[in-house]
C-alpha cells in the first residue's frame, strides 16, 4: 500500500531540473569561484607577495607581470587583488541587501496576504506607493541624508564603513517591494488552501499558520526573487558609485573601481574593463542562476506528470 510514487524528494527533483539548466549551472559555478576568490583575497595577496593597500608611485599603470597578473592601477597597486577585495564588498553588499530586502518584503507580504482585507489594502497601497517612487532620484536624496540628524550615534556615522551600511539600508528600504508583492500574492492563494483551513479548524494561531504552513511554501519564489535581486543590487551600487554616492574609497567595490577608472578609460582602458566585466558577469550570472532556480523550483513543474 505504501508505494511512494516518486522515489526521490522534492529537493532531488529540483536539483535534477536545475542541473539540466546548463547556463544556470555554469553561473552558479562562476559565482562560487568568484566568491571563493573574493573571500580568499588576503591569501591571493600573500601568495603574490603584494600589499594592495600600499601605494607605489613608481610603478603606476604597470603591465601584467608575475607579481601583478593584471598589472597595477593609477597608484601602483595590484589590480587583481584590488578587484578581489572589491568583489568581496560588492558581493557582500549584494547578498546582504538582497537578504534584508527579502526579509522585509516577506514580512510585509506575509502579513498583507495572510490577513487580507483592510490590512492588505493598506499595505499594498503603501507598496504601490514605494514602487511608484522614482527610485534613483530618491536614493540620491537618501544617500545625501545627514545620518546624525536622523538620530544615529556620531560614532557610527563617522565610521569608515558607514557608506557600506548606508547603501545596504537604502537599497533594502526600497528594494523589498518585489518580494512583498510576490509573497502577498502567493499568501493570498495559500491562505485559501485546504491545508491552511485544516490548521485553522484545529485552532492553530496566526503565527503558527504563517510559520509552518504558509512561509515554507513561499521559499522557492523568495529564493528566486532574492537571487535575481542580488544582481540588481550590485548594479545599483555601481550606479550610485557613478553618481558619487556609493561606497566610498578607500573601501574598494567594483562600482567605485569602475567609476574611478572611467576617467582613465583613455589611459588605461583595462582598469575600467575589469570591474565592468566583473559586474556584468556577476549580474548576468545571478540572473541566469535565478532563472534556472525558477525553472527548477517551479511548483507547476514540480507536480509533474
Amino acid at each position: 500500500m505504501s508505494t511512494a510514487t516518486h522515489s526521490q524528494g522534492m529537493f532531488g527533483l529540483a536539483l535534477r531540473r536545475f542541473r539540466r539548466h546548463r547556463l544556470a549551472l555554469g553561473s552558479a559555478a562562476a559565482l562560487v569561484a568568484l566568491a571563493v576568490l573574493a573571500v580568499a583575497a588576503p591569501l591571493v595577496e600573500a601568495a603574490l607577495g603584494v600589499d594592495s593597500s600600499v601605494v607605489d608611485l613608481f610603478n603606476r599603470f604597470a603591465p601584467a607581470t608575475a607579481a601583478h597578473p593584471l598589472g597595477t592601477d593609477e597608484l601602483g597597486r595590484d589590480v587583481l587583488v584590488r578587484l578581489l577585495y572589491g568583489g568581496r564588498v560588492s558581493l557582500l553588499v549584494g547578498l546582504v541587501t538582497a537578504l534584508v530586502a527579502a526579509v522585509i518584503g516577506t514580512i510585509v507580504g506575509l502579513i498583507a496576504g495572510f490577513y487580507g482585507g483592510r490590512v492588505d489594502g493598506l499595505l499594498m497601497r503603501f507598496t504601490d506607493g514605494v514602487i511608484a517612487l522614482p527610485l534613483l532620484p530618491l536614493l540620491i536624496v537618501l544617500a545625501a541624508l545627514d545620518l546624525e540628524k536622523v538620530g544615529l550615534p556620531a560614532a557610527f556615522v563617522q565610521s569608515e564603513n558607514v557608506s557600506l551600511y548606508r547603501i545596504i539600508a537604502i537599497v533594502a528600504l526600497v528594494g523589498w517591494t518585489t518580494v512583498a508583492r510576490l509573497v502577498r500574492g502567493a499568501a493570498l492563494t495559500l491562505r485559501e488552501a485546504d491545508f491552511v483551513l485544516a490548521a485553522h479548524a484545529q485552532g492553530a494561531g496566526a503565527l503558527r499558520i504563517m510559520a509552518v504552513h504558509i512561509l515554507p511554501n513561499l521559499v522557492s519564489p523568495i529564493i528566486v526573487a532574492t537571487t535575481l535581486s542580488v544582481g540588481s543590487v550590485i548594479l545599483l551600487e555601481s550606479v550610485l558609485s557613478f553618481l558619487g554616492l556609493g561606497i566610498q574609497p578607500p573601501i574598494p567595490s567594483w562600482g567605485n573601481l569602475l567609476t574611478n577608472a572611467q576617467e582613465l578609460i583613455w589611459t588605461a582602458p583595462a582598469l575600467a574593463f575589469y570591474p565592468g566585466i566583473l559586474i556584468f558577469v556577476t549580474v548576468i550570472a545571478f540572473n541566469f542562476l535565478g532563472d534556472g532556480l525558477q525553472d527548477a523550483l517551479d511548483p507547476k513543474a514540480m507536480e509533474g506528470r
Binding site: 508505494t3 510514487t5 527533483l13 535534477r16 531540473r17 506528470r305
Partner: protein
C-alpha cells in the same frame, strides 16, 4: 509488442479508423507511453464512449487524433485514417484544415477553454472565418444561429458577451455551438460535463444527443464516469494505463464485462440495491506509467492474476458479439 488487430476489422462504414496509436512522453525518468497501441473506429451518427481513470490515456488519445498532444509528448506510432488520409502523415497546414472543420472538439473546462478576451460570438464565428473564408457579418449571423440551436436564450445579445459573463452550463452550450458550427463529421468530447452540476449535466447530455441526431456527427465521448458513458455511448472502450483493455457494444459491456478491470469498475460503483455496508473495491492504486508491472499492467491489482499474466502482456483479442478484450482470464 503485439501487432495491432487491424487486419480482421475494417468495417466500411467507419469514418475514422485509429490503428495502433502510440503517444510517448519524455519525462525526467525516461520515455513513458501514455497511449500504447490504441485502435478503434468511429461511425457516423454513433457514439463511442471512452472510459478510464485519470492518467489512463483518454485525453492524450483524443488530442492525438487532432495532433494536439502537448510537448513533451509526441505521437510515436500508429495511423489515424480519415477520408482516405492518414492524419498523422499530413502536413501541419493540411491538418489545420481538418481541425474544427472536419473534426472538432469539446473540452472539459468551459471556463478555461474560452479565450477570456474575445466575445463568445467571435470565438464561435472564428472557425467559419478560418475554414469557409466567411465574412465577419456572415460568420457572426451563423454564430448567433448556432447559439440559438444549442438553446441559449437571447442569442444575438449573448454573442456579444464575454465568457466570464456566462454560467458554466451556458459556456458549455456555447462550446458545443463552436464545435459544431462547421458541421464536422466527428466530435471529440473530452469529459464535457465533468465540471458541471448534475442538473446542468443532464441538459448538456441531452443537447449532445439532439445535436448528434441533427448533424449525424460521430462522437468520441470521453469520461471517467461510467454512468455518463452508459447513458451516452453506443459502444464503450475501456482504457487502463495507456492501453485499451476492453471494447464492446455498450449494453453488452455493462451487462457482462469481460475484463476484470471493467468488472471492478462496475462493481465498485455505489448502486441502488447494493445496500449500505462495504463496497467491493479494486485494491491498490492507479499505476504510474513510469513504473508498470511486468506482463499485464493490471496484474498487480487483479484478483485473477497468475504467473502467466505477469509474464507477458495480453493482446486485445476478439470475443464473441463484436467484443474485444485484453485478458488471459477473460470470462467467456
Amino acid at each position: 509488442m503485439e501487432p495491432a488487430p487491424e487486419s480482421r476489422e475494417a468495417p466500411s462504414d467507419a469514418i475514422l479508423e485509429v490503428r495502433g496509436l502510440e503517444v510517448t512522453f519524455a519525462t525526467d525518468r525516461g520515455a513513458v507511453k501514455a497511449a500504447d497501441g490504441v485502435s478503434f473506429d468511429l461511425k457516423p451518427g454513433l457514439t463511442l464512449g471512452l472510459v478510464g481513470e485519470s492518467g489512463c490515456g483518454k485525453t492524450v488519445t483524443a488530442l492525438a487524433l487532432l495532433r494536439l498532444v502537448p510537448p513533451p509528448g509526441r505521437i510515436t506510432g500508429g495511423r489515424v485514417l480519415f477520408g482516405g488520409d492518414d492524419l498523422l502523415a499530413l502536413s501541419e497546414r493540411a491538418m489545420e484544415d481538418i481541425r474544427g472543420k472536419r473534426i472538432s472538439m469539446v473540452f472539459q473546462e468551459p471556463t478555461t477553454a474560452f479565450n477570456p478576451v474575445l466575445t463568445i460570438g467571435d470565438q464561435i464565428a472564428e472557425a467559419l472565418v478560418i475554414h469557409d473564408g466567411a465574412g465577419r457579418a456572415e460568420a457572426h449571423a451563423a454564430a448567433v444561429g448556432m447559439l440559438e440551436k444549442v438553446g441559449i436564450p437571447d442569442p444575438a445579445e449573448r454573442a456579444g458577451t464575454y465568457p466570464h459573463q456566462m454560467s458554466g452550463g451556458m459556456r458549455q452550450r456555447a462550446m458545443i455551438a463552436m464545435a459544431l458550427i462547421c458541421r464536422p463529421d466527428i466530435l471529440i468530447a473530452d469529459e464535457p460535463t465533468t465540471a458541471l452540476d448534475v442538473t446542468i449535466q443532464a441538459q448538456i447530455l441531452d443537447l449532445m444527443g439532439e445535436m448528434q441526431r441533427e448533424f449525424g456527427v460521430a462522437i468520441l465521448f470521453i469520461s471517467h464516469d461510467l454512468a455518463v458513458i452508459s447513458e451516452m455511448a453506443d459502444e464503450v472502450m475501456v482504457m487502463y494505463a495507456g492501453r485499451v483493455v476492453e471494447r464492446a457494444p455498450a449494453d453488452a459491456l455493462l451487462a457482462h464485462p469481460l475484463h476484470p478491470y471493467t468488472q471492478g469498475l462496475i462493481e465498485t460503483l455505489p448502486r441502488h440495491g447494493v445496500g449500505r455496508g462495504r463496497l467491493p473495491a479494486i485494491p491498490g492504486t492507479v499505476p504510474d506509467l513510469g513504473a508498470l508491472p511486468d506482463g499485464c499492467r493490471f496484474s498487480d491489482r487483479c484478483p485473477l492474476a497468475d504467473d502467466g499474466c505477469r509474464a507477458a502482456e495480453p493482446p486485445l483479442t476478439q470475443a464473441p458479439g463484436g467484443r474485444w478484450v485484453a485478458c488471459y482470464k477473460a470470462a467467456p
